[in-house]
Assembly symmetry: C2
């Protein structure tokens, strides 16, 4: 399998985004965040997305012009960003940079971002802040999409609503990126494309029966994704999904009530600096202690030791940075499409 150097992939994407009108800064940030997704092994939310971003740039639904971002600074620690559908990775990174400064000065910084274009893989943003001993938190929903049903209901109302948080630690930093539903839209699409069933009955037919068949989701009338906790404890996943809706769309003032269409996101970005609370060293001591306790907590399956969130991603990242990223076929195919008739066509061989 061909392995692609991360630098090379990033450079290609920068060229492609710039050719489609993105400013240097927007192109570079978006390229970096997409490649970061593949470095961590999240291939559905990495380079594979570039072709869709380029199509939206061409169609005018996405923008690469950073001037379109409008910032309303509510206080030194709080801001509302109107992203005006600038490419999401640029907007989220700008918000994180601002929150990082606020966190260092005040202990915490928060940005509510509305009308962002798609923001890729949440885990991709965490590492640089965690390495600086800060705690980044990102939540997002897409008010243009409904795929998850409320607990007890059968109709799609909201999105999987992922939450990401980075937890600094000396031995094993923790990178969390989990949705508040059993599975994501991406997993359902992927299983369907592969003609496979899901591992677990994470879906609900329109008639209210659990199913592991992705076709149940796409039937007419359509099925839905179950909240985290499923039929037994799904009231908790439902509650957490509502939390993300409130802290993203409601907080930004723009959401489902506005019936937007196309690829978009409402996002909450927050950074906390432990130095302004119990202190950085004590924070790291506690994380290290907890990590050791978790890794030594026995194992249900002798072949499957306990892993901390982000542990395999970070290990993969280290390997891929040295040896290149082994991109899955579907990602290479999308990259091919993205390159299309660009200036890269003659110089790039995708193997």
């Amino acid at each position: 399998m061909t392995r692609y150097p991360a630098d090379q992939l990033t450079a290609w994407l920068v060229t492609l985004f710039e050719e489609n009108g993105a400013a240097r800064d927007v192109a570079e940030t978006t390229a970096r965040i997409l490649v970061e997704g593949d470095l961590l092994g999240h291939h559905t939310h990495g380079v594979k997305l570039a072709n869709g971003y380029l199509s939206d740039l061409k169609a005018g639904h996405a923008s690469g012009d950073p001037q379109r971002l409008v910032i309303e600074q509510g206080s030194p620690v709080a801001a509302l960003f109107d992203g005006n559908y600038v490419l999401g990775p640029y907007l989220v990174q700008r918000a994180l940079d601002q929150c990082r400064k606020a966190a260092k000065d005040y202990g915490i910084g928060i940005v509510s971002l509305k009308r962002s274009h798609h923001i890729a893989c949440l885990a991709s943003y965490l590492a640089p802040l965690v390495e600086d001993n800060l705690v980044p938190i990102i939540m997002t929903s897409d008010p243009a999409v409904a795929s998850v049903a409320p607990f007890g209901g059968t109709e799609r109302v909201y999105t999987p609503n992922p939450l990401a948080i980075g937890i600094p630690g000396r031995e094993q930093p923790i990178l969390i990126d989990v949705s508040m539903s059993t599975v994501t839209n991406g997993s359902v699409n992927k299983a369907r494309a592969a003609g496979q069933k899901l591992d677990h009955p994470a879906l609900l037919t329109a008639q209210g029966t659990p199913s592991n068949d992705p076709e149940a989701f796409f039937a007419a009338p359509g099925g839905s994704i179950l909240p985290l906790g499923g039929l037994e404890f799904g009231h908790k996943g439902f509650a957490l999904g509502l939390m993300v809706e409130a802290l993203t769309s409601a907080l930004s003032g723009f959401g489902r009530k506005d019936a937007p269409s196309g690829w978009g996101a409402s996002v909450m970005i927050m950074v906390i600096d432990p130095a302004r609370f119990g202190g950085t060293e004590a924070f790291l001591d506690e994380t290290d202690h907890l990590v050791r306790r978790c890794l030594n907590a026995g194992q249900i399956d002798p072949q499957q030791p306990v892993r901390l969130p982000g542990q395999s991603g970070l290990r993969r990242r280290a390997t891929y940075l040295k040896e290149g990223i082994p991109l899955p076929e579907d990602v290479v195919a999308e990259l091919h499409k993205a390159i299309g008739d660009s200036s890269l066509r003659d110089s790039v061989s995708l193997g």
Copy 2:
């Protein structure tokens, strides 16, 4: 069944706490928060706890002296509270009051509280802030207790780690209070005391087999509680449990590494004011829209319409305020013990 007026219960508890050395303010806040738990129907985390609080006050593990709270103000929006085991409801209320002010002035306020005594029911704190169109968030862990195993592991490492958030809405405000595990320590204890099984296999034996038998938890070697998501999607509940550990104990600098004993809590308290972001009216519009969508999203069981988190609690509260609270037998028994040989003994008849 005897119904107890909320005011009467509160007055009794104030007397009891004051008789055991609590300052007026501490006694009143603690009494109010405990009764609020019963008003919302959370009888395991209401008045029933008073006897335990009184025992800890007598034994010197809890304190009713507000002077013992030490505040380190990291910035106008961020503070570290060292609770010194003052009764938890007083400490959390103090933190919320401070965060409310910061949120109004800066959009957000955050307090990290370490070495609190027990903080009762998280949902009990939310309504007054939500009625003021603010978003309160509370998370807590108890570093002295371990009952949940990491995903894939068999040994207890951390606590159910609840998260609470209040979401303002005109038609139906949302009060969320959910743990990041399948069930709580309280549910396991309650089922055991009643000689009943749990509704679902939410426990794991020490050998790594799922079980609905509370005795599995108390066996030697002991079992554990499964993270939210169970054996299928428990990596998500585990991740969320770690998030709460980090934002409570690690952030405060005091946690499992310090091996505390006795009833206690690490807590994160946060308040956000939508007025400093997309605006209060837009926030309420979005909540109202989402609530309607959820309530009209069909139903799996024709007998069980979709309910929003807090919906039945708030309805119950309105009824109980008018008609009195029908306390379960076990709560009345604990209240009897709490009254013991206090000055109330001759004047109170518990029916």
